[in-house]
Amino acid sequence: MEFGPGIWGPIAATVLMLLGAIIGYLVLIISRRYIVPKPSSEKLKTYACGEELKPEEAHFDSEHFYSAVRRVFKPFYKYVQPKHSGILSTYLLWVVIGFFIVLIAVTLSLR
């Protein structure tokens, strides 16, 4: 696939990516042979604000993912997300609003 002066060769790129993965894996294996981690028992404990937790009980909640992105798009999550409430009349209102948006867009496009 060509792109201006550039080009994307999928087969060559795939071979290079596979080679990179193999080299990375080899580096990992070799480094493990020379540097053996020796964590203390304290290091392996799950930190939960002083609370004792078994590793099986520690689970990262989906709520905590990408909180920074949520802050950036705060107005969207404040005003749009709550409208996905499951209430049919709200959904129908959205369809009506969508219809008028399309009507305006079509009228402007065909003018």
């Binding site: 795939t14 989906s62 129908l92 369809v95 065909l110």
Partner: protein, 464 residues
């Protein structure tokens, strides 16, 4: 076990037999055979109309229909009423095929209704509170959409007195050349775009979709995500581009595509339920397709249609993976999952392939089609196409972000005690997933195969 699932033979055998049609066509052409019922020739008689575009769509539907039927054998084995299930599944496929292949706009509506009504029933198939509620919402909003389409057809018939799509195209093009344009034409186009827009869950008409996909059996979520959205987009493109021309309404599709892409992606980012995440990501991906076709260039439309094909492949794969997890664990709530990569390594690998493909990571198929859309956007050379391409790239990164979240929460990390005994999905569920994953890789490494499929489709839309 096989006997209750015997109806899948009624799906699989005809669909595989469909591959014999090219041979029959060659023979028919050689002997000059033409089948005409009642002696009515088009535009008065109802006809089938085959071109590059609807062949592509028919191929998507036949392939997905076959794979979903195979997948259903195991995924639906704990359900009752399988005779009704397979009947409805067949009706969805019949409706999709009819919409794709008919040359008559009223027949298109009839087949669209067959597909839609069967889909409403399939969403409510499990008959629990959630599925019935989602089914009724889908029914009411979907019926509003099909009412829009019917009204648009009535206006078109009132304007030119024909229901044959080719005949309509010629007559409306003639009317479109006159100035001023009749007021009825923008209204007609709006009715079509809004009607089909509901089916493809174009924002802000998308809200029914996450509820429906979450409540439906996973095989049906896969079918709806792959086949019915493809059909909705096909019908929207066929009617709007063939009747009204691509250049005039391209910018509108770019704007609607951007809104759909961004809103779907941002909503997917905050989902706890895997099927809802997949539903919102599907909405976002339809935004890419709208963006590509909205560029109204040959490269853009090829990119958009290639993305439609790819989206059907990896979206079905991802919903099937979700179904495999639900089959083994009983939930798709990601906060209740974790560490399943150890128990379900094949499902995990297939999900990762699907997730990377939908995120546009090379060398998978999603990258190839997104790349084509980006290139088309830059080559179009307008401020709006530059800006929309930049937003599409950012949204692709966001897609990767929420799929990494899903991979982490489901397959990596600590495994809860109650998931220790979970087993890998049954082979008959893995088989269609494997085929789809192989397609993700093959169409990524050899994108020429996909481009060869979509080129005739782009030519059929009449955009150079």
């Amino acid at each position: 076990m096989i006997f209750p699932h015997a109806p899948i033979l009624a799906i699989v055998i005809p669909l595989f037999a469909a591959f014999l049609i090219p041979i029959i066509s060659i023979i028919a052409k050689r002997f000059g055979a033409e089948r005409m019922r009642g002696g009515w020739s088009p535009p008065w008689g109802i006809n089938l109309s085959i071109n590059g575009l609807n062949l592509l769509i028919a191929l998507i539907i036949a392939s997905i229909g076959s794979l979903v039927a195979i997948y259903s054998v195991v995924s639906m084995e704990r359900d009752n009423g399988l005779d009704k299930y397979y009947t409805l599944l067949l009706l969805v496929i019949v409706g999709c095929m009819g919409v794709a292949l008919t040359g008559d706009i009223f027949n298109l509506y009839v087949f669209f209704e067959i597909m839609s009504i069967s889909a409403y029933a399939l969403v409510a198939f499990r008959r629990n509170w959630g599925s019935i509620e989602a089914g009724i919402k889908y029914l009411i909003i979907g019926s509003l959409g099909t009412a829009f389409i019917l009204l648009g057809i009535a206006l078109a018939y009132g304007l030119v007195g024909s229901l044959n799509i080719a005949d309509l195209t010629g007559k409306i093009t003639e009317i479109g050349a006159t100035q001023p344009l009749p007021v009825i034409i923008p209204l007609m186009l709006t009715l079509f775009i809004a009607g089909f827009g509901i089916k493809i869950a174009m924002v802000p008409m998308h809200a029914w979709l996450p509820d429906a996909y979450q409540a439906a059996p996973s095989a049906i979520s896969a079918l709806l995500a792959g086949a019915t959205t493809a059909i909705g987009l096909y019908a929207m493109l066929r009617i709007s581009y063939m009747l009204f021309g691509a250049v005039a309404i391209g910018t509108m599709f770019i704007i609607l595509g951007l809104i759909t892409m961004v809103a779907g992606g941002l909503m997917a980012l905050v989902q706890q339920d895997l099927k809802r995440l997949l539903a919102y990501s599907g909405i976002s991906q339809m935004g890419y397709v709208l963006l590509g076709v909205g560029f109204a260039t040959a490269a853009g439309i090829q990119g958009g249609l290639f993305h439609l094909l790819n989206n059907a492949i990896y979206k079905v794969l991802l919903f099937m993976c979700a179904g495999a997890i639900i089959y083994r664990v009983g939930t798709s709530n990601m906060d209740k999952l974790g560490g399943l990569g150890k128990n379900m390594p094949i499902t995990a690998t297939l999900f990762i392939i699907g997730g990377l493909a939908i995120s546009g990571v090379p060398p998978f198929n999603g990258f190839a089609s997104k790349w084509m859309i980006y290139v088309a956007g830059i080559e179009a050379g307008q401020a709006i196409t530059y800006a929309s391409t930049a937003i599409a790239v950012i949204m692709s990164a966001l897609t990767l972000a929420y799929f990494l979240k899903a991979i982490n929460l489901i397959f990596l990390g600590q495994r809860p005690m109650h998931l220790r005994e979970v087993k890998e999905a049954p082979p008959l569920m893995l088989f269609p997933m494997l085929i789809l994953a192989v397609l993700c890789v093959v169409l990524g490494i050899l994108p020429g195969l996909g481009i060869d499929l979509v080129q005739p489709a782009q030519s059929a839309l009449g955009v150079i």
